[in-house]
């Protein structure tokens, strides 16, 4: 089932949580709402669920207005950051609960409930814990039970609010792969909220990046990562080095450095260039260099080597990531004088959000 969000406004007192947000979630896709805390992503999710009412705007489910449909009638499955399992019930009863409280006329029979619950518990690989209480489970197990519980009522939409936020790194990684493959099998329209860009990029079909109550960019993980639409998206998606230069006649220039831009900008002027650490090459030759400086730190972490160069022009540290081979080839030592050359640059006019990628 598709979800359409039209011009949603939501304020909490003086604080604007959502400012005229519109978005379409395609049927069967797994969409991530990504942004820093306070960006409005959870509020948007709760409005889709019906747990929060918008001040203005509409929510449409499969083309039908659901803005004023009560949460209990929306047929959404909701998974909470802190699981919200019913602590006074066993795992089995938790999962069965949405079915057993239905009015007699639409309630499945006892055997059918049992079968369905056990099937779901097998799906989340926890059928052996059916008689345990939530207090006896680990965080990862609780979240899987919460997911099984939300799926038991056969929702048309699955909504997940920072589902892995409270888990430790290892479990988080396992669970998000598992969620991805679960979604591949079930194809239920799903929206999940996260502040972890890695999680959003790895799990979802499309990512919505939000900040300060509005949407910054919508796109596939590749699009978002390779062609960030705004400085905010660029910076939020990972470490970047920042260079202040100019745009002149279709080139980004900084001192002697000039790089042609794929899309010619309308007007020249002050601009900022963002370069990711792995897009910054270190060399001992001055040719094509964007900046130069002295090697200040070298951190060899696993297969890659992080090198910090103190830029001579600005004095700010630049971060570059090299492969071990390249690092050995260069035979870098602390205090070496080196040049850095970008292989990929995102340029934005200073104070504007227009993007031209080269």
């Amino acid at each position: 089932m598709s979800i359409e969000i039209r011009n949603i406004q939501k304020r909490f007192g003086e604080f604007t949580a959502l400012d005229n947000v519109s978005l379409t979630v395609e049927s069967g896709e797994l969409l991530a709402l990504l942004g820093p805390s306070g960006c409005g992503k959870t509020t948007l999710l709760r409005i889709i669920a019906g747990l929060e009412t918008p001040d203005a705007g509409q929510v449409l489910f499969a083309g039908k207005d659901a803005t004023h449909t009560h949460v209990s009638e929306r047929q959404v499955g909701f998974v909470f950051q802190h699981y919200a399992l019913f602590r006074h019930m066993t795992v089995f009863d938790n999962v069965a609960f949405g079915l057993t409280v239905r009015p007699r006329s639409v309630r499945p029979g006892r055997e059918e409930v049992r079968e369905r619950v056990m099937r779901l518990l097998k799906l989340v690989q926890l059928d052996w814990l059916a008689d345990a209480y939530p207090a006896q489970l680990s965080g990862g197990q609780r979240q899987r039970i919460a997911l099984a519980r939300s799926l038991a009522v056969e929702p048309k939409v699955l909504l997940l609010d920072e589902p892995f936020g409270a888990l430790d790194a290892k479990v988080r990684k396992d669970l998000r792969r598992w969620l991805r493959s679960l979604h591949n099998d079930m194809h239920i329209t799903s929206v999940f909220v996260t502040h972890d860009q890695e999680e959003a990029l790895e799990v979802s079909d499309r990512v919505v990046v939000m900040d300060h109550g509005h949407i910054e960019q919508v796109g596939t993980p590749d699009e978002i990562y390779d062609r960030p639409a705004t400085p905010f998206v660029t910076q939020f998606l990972g470490d970047v080095n920042l260079f202040h230069g100019r745009v002149d006649q279709g080139h980004f220039t900084l001192g002697d450095f000039a790089q042609p831009l794929a899309e010619a900008p309308a007007a020249g002027g002050q601009a900022v260039a963002f370069v990711r650490p792995h897009d910054l090459e270190i060399s001992r030759a001055a040719e094509g260099a964007l900046a130069h400086g002295v090697v200040e730190h070298i951190h060899a972490v696993g297969p890659i080597v992080r090198v910090e160069v103190a830029a001579e022009s600005s004095g700010k540290p630049l971060e570059a990531v090299l492969t071990r081979e390249r690092y050995r080839e260069l035979a870098l030592m602390l205090g070496d004088r080196v040049y850095v050359r970008p292989t990929r640059v995102s340029v934005f006019p200073a104070g504007d959000a227009q993007d031209y990628v080269i």
């Binding site: 949460v71 209990s72 009638e73 499955g77 909701f78 909470f80 919200a84 019913f86 939530p134 006896q136």
Partner: protein, 220 residues
């Protein structure tokens, strides 16, 4: 010592009678008070317009005035406007109204103490407000509220002594009557105190059982 044993031998039928009355007052007011308290808490939590304000007013009035005054108003005051109760009814009514106010606050606290996410989870599973309250929130609120509910209920057992002022021969008045005949206040008042204590202590046992039962699912 022998004198005391003789004294209790003659006094016990009267004291037992009084204890039974006390127990009856306590149990009936407990049951009614719990029901009333739950109702008042529900009205306030659901923010039912007008009723919620009325409930808040009732709680404030009951907690803000002495039980003794409430008993006098109900038994001696209300007949002035044509509402008359026999002493037992008036006693039960006063105790119920009084304890109901305290119990409603404990329950309201318990309900508020249940995580907001439990409501959201219930509602998103397709339950209505009342179903969520009944199956999800209330059972967990009860666990949180038991210690403070028990406080009020144990106080209630002792507060029954106040209905002696409207000629109900419960334990307190029964004791006084025996004292009037025997002129032995010390042993008899001590006996009454012991009986109240035993009643309260048995209630504490009940509380302990209930707590253990409600805590079953919280054990690791």
């Amino acid at each position: 010592m022998d004198a005391w044993i003789d004294l209790f031998r003659t006094a016990w039928p009267v004291l037992l009678q009084g204890t039974l009355y006390t127990l009856m007052f306590a149990v009936i007011s407990m049951v009614l008070g719990l029901a009333l308290g739950f109702l008042v808490a529900l009205v306030r939590v659901a923010r039912v317009p007008a009723l919620a304000q009325l409930a808040a007013f009732y709680v404030s009035a009951m907690r803000g005035t002495p039980l003794l005054v409430q008993i006098f108003v109900i038994y001696y005051g209300l007949p002035g406007i044509g509402i008359e109760f026999d002493p037992v009814t008036a006693g039960v009514l006063a105790l119920t109204l009084n304890v109901g106010a305290y119990l409603s606050e404990s329950m309201r606290g318990g309900i508020a103490g249940v995580d907001r996410g439990q409501w959201d989870a219930g509602l998103s599973l397709g339950l209505g407000w009342w179903q969520t309250m009944r199956f999800v929130v209330a059972p967990q609120a009860l666990r949180l509220a038991v210690p403070s509910l028990s406080n009020s209920l144990i106080s209630l057992i002792k507060d029954t002594s106040l209905v002696s002022v409207i000629t109900v021969t419960e334990l307190m008045l029964a004791t006084k009557e025996v004292i009037a005949q025997t002129f032995q206040p010390l042993p008899l008042y001590l006996a009454a105190a012991a009986i109240y204590w035993v009643l309260s202590a048995s209630f504490e046992q009940v509380q302990r059982r209930v707590e253990a039962r409600l805590n079953l699912s919280y054990r690791r």
